[in-house]
């Protein structure tokens, strides 16, 4: 089999698929990078409240032109806007919201996710790499549901959903669902369930491709 590194879904498709699973009224934190793109696809008929770790609920879209205010940034330090009903708070309160389990969903990127829900997304472990953790570990253990959005394979063809993470961990057993370009995987006590497979592959083919024991929904 040739290395297939990209599945049927584009990154925008993946973001749209995650957005579909965010229900009306949810309090949601979107991580830096690909997760941020989810905000572009939140259904307009659902009222969803975005949290940013740097002290805000009710975050609106990225600021453009005159809207740009250097005191109003998201976690990626991009200028954003404020929606009606927003509130500001300091960092201890903001991370208390995470750690205390008040966020319904957080969406994170990942280097690897294990079949038991371990998350590795903060550090490659490379000797020369400068470590930077930010809010990753707090987000990983805090939200009621942790969604990971990532391509299933690295550019080199290595599967990122693994039996055991080789990268340094961000959190243990914390991931609930992994949204990839091939499928949506739920991490359950009975193993990994491929809840939804995109494109033409069957469950057996996906299991072979990933080298994992998978079951269907």
């Amino acid at each position: 089999m040739t290395v297939r590194t990209r599945g049927p879904l584009t990154r925008d498709d993946m973001a749209r698929r995650v957005a579909d699973d965010i229900r009306e009224g949810a309090y949601v934190n979107l991580g830096i990078g690909l997760p941020t793109k989810v905000s572009d696809y939140l259904p307009s008929d659902r009222e969803i409240i975005l949290h940013t770790e740097n002290g805000m609920l009710g975050m609106g879209p990225a600021a453009v032109g005159d809207e740009i205010d250097p005191d109003l940034l998201n976690a990626g330090k991009i200028p954003v806007t404020e929606l009606p009903g927003a509130s500001y708070f300091h960092h201890a309160d903001s991370f208390g919201m995470m750690r205390g389990g008040h966020l319904d969903i957080c969406v994170l990127g990942a280097f690897q996710v294990s079949t038991s829900g371990d998350l590795a997304n903060w550090h490659t472990g490379g000797e020369d790499a400068i470590p930077a953790v930010g809010g990753a570990m707090d987000l990983a253990i805090g939200a009621k549901q942790v969604f990971v959005i990532m391509e299933l394979f690295t550019k080199e063809g290595a599967c990122k959903l693994v039996d055991e993470c080789s990268y340094p961990l961000t959190g243990i057993g914390c991931v609930d669902t992994v949204y990839t370009d091939y499928a949506v995987f739920d991490i359950t006590p009975r193993g990994v369930v491929a809840r939804e497979i995109f494109g033409e592959l069957g469950l057996d083919e996906l299991a072979e491709l990933t080298g994992l024991a998978l079951s269907a929904d």
């Binding site: 300091h90 960092h91 991370f95 750690r99 570990m137 253990i141 805090g142 959190g171 243990i172």
Partner: protein
């Protein structure tokens, strides 16, 4: 009559000694007390321990302080950024000690320092390398890591408005670490965009009561430039 107002950023920082631990507010550039950092750089002391979420952006502010060799150790959550080249170089050269702390743990440790809590059990970082060597405990079926409070000799923070009693309000996400650091430092120094009369701030909306603030200096409403990236 109480007045915590000082005439200049230089005056505000002039008793910070060599070897001091200094907390510096801000998340990236939002809430970064640029004028106070510049004054600290000008003041010339070194061997500092700095507590900040990041480790400097570009070549100004905290990055300039690092670049001038004034900092022995930095305690932060997210040093590596697209424009953290000064930190990166010093760190790789072994010229700067780094204590990396998850952002929420950093905030909570500072809050604990201000509130007289010596240590606390947090679930964050359990089972990761950032908990290596730390005491852990299972409480009600969940695993936690023991983390100690952080305090400082000085805090440099940026607020929006303040009065002579030291009461402060902030603007939007520039609030971030400011209220926590003010409470955790022996001497908290705030730069504000505007000093207002006592009574002008709504008592229901004061974020940092004056009890936490020792000095404040008006820097004239300059807003920092936004930077992009992480």
């Amino acid at each position: 009559m109480i007045s915590k107002i000082v005439e200049s950023a230089a005056t505000a920082v002039r008793d910070i000694p060599d070897g001091a631990t200094v907390m510096i507010g801000g998340f990236g550039t939002a809430g970064q007390p640029v004028e106070l950092i510049d004054a600290l750089l000008e003041h010339g002391v070194g061997d500092l321990t700095i507590v900040n979420n990041n480790a400097g952006n570009g070549t100004t502010g905290l990055a300039a302080l690092l670049g001038a060799g004034r900092v022995r150790k930095i305690i932060c959550s997210f040093p590596r950024q697209v424009d953290s080249q000064i930190f990166d170089g010093l760190y790789r050269a072994g010229q700067l000690e780094l204590e990396l702390v998850p952002q929420g743990t950093l905030a909570e440790r500072i809050r604990a320092g201000g509130a007289g809590i010596a240590a606390f059990f947090t679930p964050t970082a359990f089972g990761t390398t950032l908990a290596d060597g730390k005491e852990t405990r299972r409480i009600n079926g969940r695993d936690y890591v023991l983390e100690e409070a952080l305090t400082a000799d000085f805090a440099l923070i940026k607020a929006h408005e303040g009065d002579r009693l030291g009461n402060l309000v902030y603007r939007k996400t520039a609030r971030n670490f400011g209220p926590l650091m003010a409470s955790a430092a022996h001497t908290a120094i705030a730069q504000v965009n505007r000093i207002v009369e006592v009574g002008a701030l709504d008592p229901e909306a004061v974020v940092t009561p004056g009890i936490f603030v020792e000095r404040l200096v008006e820097v004239g409403g300059r807003l920092p430039l936004a930077t992009e990236g992480q």
